[in-house]
Structures are given as C-alpha cells and as structure tokens.
C-alpha cells in the first residue's frame, strides 16, 4: 500500500481532488453513480424527456443582423440558452444532478449561487423532484440579485446569506462545503459550475455538452458551415465548456472565452484570472488558475455581474488555455453595459450581464475578422435578474429608497 494510485480527474496538470478526506466516499459514490448513469438508457431517456418537455430544449439559435452591424459586419448567431426554463443554461446540469441525487438515495441538495441562476435552477429541480433544498449565497449577491432570492424562496428553498469574507460566490462555496462535510450522509452538493473536486468538472461539462452538440448541428443546418469562432463568458466556466466541448475536435473553429475585466486590470478590481500575472493554485478542491497573493491567499475578485465574480476558473479551461486550444480575453464593466444595452435596442433581447461579456467579445472579434466571419455566441442567460443593476447604471430609477 506504499504506492499511490495515479491522480484522478486531471486535465493536464489541472483539476484533481483537494478536499477533506471526509468527502472522499461521497465523491467516489458520485463518480460511480454518474458513470453508471452515462450508460443507462433509462437515465438518458428520463433526462431527454425533461430537456424536451420541461426545459424546452433544443434551445433555438437566433441570427442578430442589427447587432452584427456593430461587429464589423460579421454574421452573428446566438445560442439561446436564455430561453430555457428558469432563464439560463444552468438547468441542464441541475436536472441531471438532481436525478443522480435521487439515484444515490439522498433527500437533500445544497448549492452555491452567485447571480442566483444556479440557485433558482436548483430550487426548481428540488421542487420538481421533492428534494429538500438549501442555497448559499453571498450577502453582497443577495442584495444585487434580490429578485432571484425571492424566486428561490417561493420555490421552497432555504436561502442562507453568507456574510463573511468577501460575501460573494467564493464564500458561498466555502459555506456550502462546510455544510456538505457535516451532512454528507443525506445531502448532495449540487455544484453549479465546472470546478470543484473530481468528478464535478468533468460531470458538469458533460451535462452541459448538449449546448454545443445542438448548436453545432443548428449552425451547420442554417449556414452550411462551421463558425469561425465560438464565444462564451467564463466565470467558473460551465456555459463555455458546454458550448466549446463539441467543437474541440474542429481545429479550425476558434474557442474564445471572455472573462470579467471588472473595472480594468490596473484597478485590481476584476475577475480576469488568465490575464495579468496569472498563476495556478488550489481553491475549492481543484488546481486551476487562481487570483492569489504572493503567500497564496485568495484575492477577492470583482465584476458587475455576480455570476462571473469568482477568483478561480474551471480546471479544464486552464488546460484549454495552456494547451492553446482555447483563447481567453476579458471585457470591462463599462463595455459590458454598452453591449448589454446594444443587444436590447437592436434585437429586443435582454441578455444577462454575464452573457453580455461574450457579446463584447463578439464585437471585438467580428471587427478583427471582418464581414466574412461567422460567429456563434452562447447567450447563456436572460437579463431579467439584472434589471435593478442596469436601471441604476443607466440612471432609469430614482435613488428614492
């Protein structure tokens, strides 16, 4: 027993399992359950039924010519994950993990949430499947995403506002992990993005893979060719992995992730993990790029969009970046708000602030590539939840309260 087993769940040097020993049996149980489910026709049929008749899949693609006029004339197609039930791509992964929860005989789910989209999706699935549900959310985020807090509570979830640390997504994950290690017997931690200990990064990617599989066929069908670039915003990176994955073998298709540049790199208030002096480290169970100081303490991130306000990133993104298969850039808050506004006014589509980062990327890349280019953008969520932030930003509401 002196030899170690080979490390599991690695994407190159990234990923792994940096967690308390107490969680190992639950991770092994989860890994076994998801591998079994992956080859079980009953599981596949049940999930397909939910996608079709509950979520509303396949989500459509929409060509946006009036917006594209601002993208160097390139042709721009949006993958409309915003039209899914609950308003974002998050539901894809949540329904699958909720089914796994039942299969593992557990009666309770917990989840972290930043913008609230993953929390709402989890509360929704818990209501649908009769599971007890607790959502951890940073206090700062409960304030900027008050509408989603109300939605989760209406759906029957308990919402716990986490007040310590930066009171945002990373602290919500710390608290969810503390809950999990205490209640792992009856509780599944329904992680909402492609990070955390193995098997989460791989499993969550696989549950979102349907986005790219559908979109690839839809783009071919509509245009007769593959896009020149696929763009998505990257916080933890689940919507990006979801749309990228089916295109990874298509070497001619550029995969472009857009991080949150916040108030700009010079300000220090951003969530551009791959920019500036990027270094790998361990946070929340995975080795990946991480915003950290010279001692290894986590540096607090900042973004106008709560869903991208996270100091680390899914480990497979780190691998796609270092291996050169994907490229990453960032969009600053002010450009994001302009792109948000532009899509509303040119196409009548209100995007989530997270997804608006990908729109900034499309405007830049379109101008770089010119009118011959074909761009596919993952519109990962709708912006209803962001109305308060947007209205305040554009001065549409009185500061009455």
């Amino acid at each position: 027993m002196s030899e170690q087993r080979p490390a599991v769940g690695r994407f190159g040097p990234f990923g792994g399992r940096y967690v308390p020993e107490a969680l190992i049996p639950a991770l092994e149980q989860l890994d076994e359950a998801r591998l079994k489910a992956a080859v079980d026709p009953d599981f596949e049929a049940e999930l397909a039924r939910l996608h079709r008749s509950y979520t509303g899949r396949p989500s459509i693609i929409t060509e946006v010519p009036r917006f594209a006029a601002h993208c160097g004339g390139a042709r721009v197609l949006l993958k409309r994950e915003d039209l899914n039930h609950t308003g974002s791509h998050k539901i894809n992964n949540v329904l699958a993990q909720a089914l796994l929860t039942k299969r593992m005989g557990k009666s309770r789910v917990i989840a972290e949430t930043g913008a609230g989209q993953h929390g709402v999706a989890t509360a929704t699935a818990a209501a649908l499947m009769g599971l007890e549900c607790t959502i951890y959310m940073g206090k700062v985020d409960t304030e900027r995403q008050a509408l989603n807090v109300a939605r989760m509570k209406i759906l029957g979830a308990e919402v716990i506002a986490v007040e310590h640390g930066s009171a945002t997504l990373k602290d919500a994950i710390n608290e969810a992990l503390r809950d999990w290690v205490t209640n792992v017997d009856n509780t599944h931690y329904l992680i909402g993005t492609v990070t955390g200990p193995h098997p989460f990064p791989e499993m969550v990617r696989d549950f979102h893979r349907i986005i790219g599989v559908e979109a690839r066929a839809q783009v071919l069908d509509l245009t007769g060719r593959l896009p020149d670039a696929v763009l998505a915003c990257v916080g933890g990176g689940s919507n990006a992995m979801g749309i990228f994955h089916a295109f990874i073998p298509d070497a001619q298709v550029r995969l472009i992730g857009v991080e949150a540049g916040g108030e700009g790199l010079a300000s220090g208030r951003h969530a551009a993990r791959f920019a500036a002096d990027a270094t790998p480290g361990v946070l929340h169970g995975a080795m990946s790029y991480l915003m950290q100081d010279e001692d290894g303490q986590t540096i607090e991130s900042h973004s106008i969009s709560a869903g991208l306000d996270y100091p680390s990133v899914g480990p497979e993104h780190s691998w796609l970046r270092d291996s050169g298969r994907a490229e990453y850039r960032y969009a600053v808050d002010s450009d994001v708000m302009d792109a948000f506004h532009l899509l509303c006014r040119t196409e009548g589509i209100i995007p989530a602030l997270e997804s608006a980062h990908a729109l900034v990327g499309a405007m830049e890349v379109g101008r770089e590539l010119g009118p011959e280019a074909l761009l596919l953008v993952n519109l990962s969520g709708r912006g209803d939840k962001d109305m308060h932030t947007a209205a305040a930003y554009f001065g549409l509401i009185e500061e009455a309260q």
Partner: protein, 269 residues
C-alpha cells in the same frame, strides 16, 4: 535539535499511561507576538504537541471561531513567514510544533522550499486538512528528504480501504476527525469518535489522535480512554477573544490548558 519529536512525545505519554494533549492556535491572533506567547504558555501548562495554524483566506474545514481568528490575523497583516517564528519558539519551549495548513499556502511557496524552511525552524511536520495522500506525491517526497511528519486526516466516513491507504502515508500520528463536520466545540463528542479510533487502529500501528469538538476536561478524559492523543482547537482559540488585556486572556488559556492536561491524565485506569 535535542528536544523530542512527535513520535518520542507520544511514546513517552504512552509509557506514562496517558494520552497526549495537542493544542491548536493560529499564528497572528491576536497578533504574531501574542500568538507566540500564547503557544509558549500552552506548552508551560502541559500541552505536549502544538498544532500551529496558518491563517488562510478560505478555511473550509473551520467553524466560526477559527474562521474569525484567521480573518483577524490576516486583517492584521500576518504572513506565512510568521509561522516559522512560531515553530522556532514552540520548539525552544520544548514541544514539537506541527503546522496545520491549507494546501495552497504550501503550493504557493513551493513544496520543497516550505519543507526546508519548516525543518530549519524547528517544525516537526504538517497537518493537511485539504490534502489527501492521492494528491501528495511532492509533499511525501519533500517530507522524506527533510524528515518531517505527515499527518493526513481520517474521518468517520472513511471506508476500511481508505483508512488503510491514508494511514500508510502518515508519519508521526494519524489525525482522526471525531465527527463529520468542521472545527468547533461541541457539547458531546460522539460515539463516532470511538468508532473511528477503533477502526483506524485495526489498520495501523501508528498513534491515533482525535480532534474536532473537544472543549472540556471531561471530554478530554473520555477521549483519552481510547486515543493516543486529544486535539483541542476552537476552545483554546476562544480564550484569546475578548476585550481584556492580552495577559488576562492568556491566563484564561493557561487555566483551560491545565484542565485539559488533567483530563488526558484521567482517562485510563
């Protein structure tokens, strides 16, 4: 280095027919100097091994008391370098210091450099709450090179296979978490503590020390009946909170340490 190591201390306690008392405090709370004074005070009052914590921004295995202490220590500017002053001071006071650290702080410094600095400053080894042996190849090699102890954790949820795999990579002692959950005093230390010690003993000859939830003399005595060492954290850290003079808070720490030291001597016939 003439003072005894972790194994010698645990063997000596066993000869004396008692469990060892292992006390945790984080460096930098309420200040670097204050924390070092407090650690030395614990040694003077009967702590056999000191678990020296490094404050970390995201301490996911810690409950509210240690979280608050760590946050205050970081707020006050505590650096990883400060831990080596603490280990040297604890060693000079005559007890082996084991550093309790989340893994990213070691990774960032470099595993080899961290191990070398620790060894050079009297450190006995590491307790690693978020590092499992499967991910620890670099640390296992570095700790072999520098003759440092490696305390990995086992938990009530650990299967017999995992217990065997984890304990095979431990050196010094095995850290058994008595309950499922995070650090923090609890009113009762569960039967799970007895169960995990018994199951761990079945797969290793190493000493087994128990932590998570111990705060009173009676709990220390109860656990001393089954374990080779009793680990106390939050209850000791709590002594250092409050408005009074640091000297008064350290007096409270000394008093609790004496109680716990009496407890670990009462557990066996």
């Amino acid at each position: 280095m003439t003072s005894p190591g972790v194994r010698e201390v645990l063997a000596r306690c066993r000869e004396q027919g008692r469990a060892a008392l292992i006390g945790y405090l984080p460096v930098g709370f309420p200040s670097v100097e204050g924390s070092i004074q407090a650690m030395v005070a614990m040694v003077e009052e009967g702590v056999d091994i000191v678990e020296v914590g490094i404050p970390y921004s995201d301490p996911l295995m810690d409950g509210p008391v240690i979280q608050q202490a760590a946050a205050a220590a970081l707020e006050a500017g505590t650096r990883v370098d400060d831990v080596f002053r603490a280990t040297a001071a604890v060693r000079a006071a005559g007890a082996p210091p084991l550093v309790m650290t989340y893994w990213n702080l070691v990774l960032r410094r470099g595993v080899e450099r961290f191990a070398a600095d620790l060894a050079a400053n009297g450190g006995a080894g590491l307790i690693t709450p978020d590092l499992i042996p499967d991910e620890a190849a670099d640390w296992i090699a570095a700790s072999d090179r520098h003759q440092l102890d490696r305390c990995f954790l086992v938990a009530p949820s650990s299967t017999p296979d995992r217990l065997a795999q984890v304990t095979a990579q431990c050196r010094g002692f095995v850290y058994a978490a008595s309950t499922m959950g995070v650090t923090g005093a609890r009113s009762s230390v569960s039967d799970a503590a007895y169960d995990i010690v018994t199951r761990t003993r079945a797969v290793t000859d190493l000493p087994v020390c128990v932590g998570l939830g111990v705060s009173t003399r009676q709990q220390a005595a109860d656990l001393a009946g089954v374990a080779d060492g009793v680990i106390v954290g939050s209850a000791l850290v709590r002594c250092l909170f409050g408005e009074g003079e640091l000297s008064q808070r350290i007096e409270a720490l000394r008093a609790l340490t004496r109680e716990l030291a009496a407890g670990v001597r009462e557990g066996r016939p």
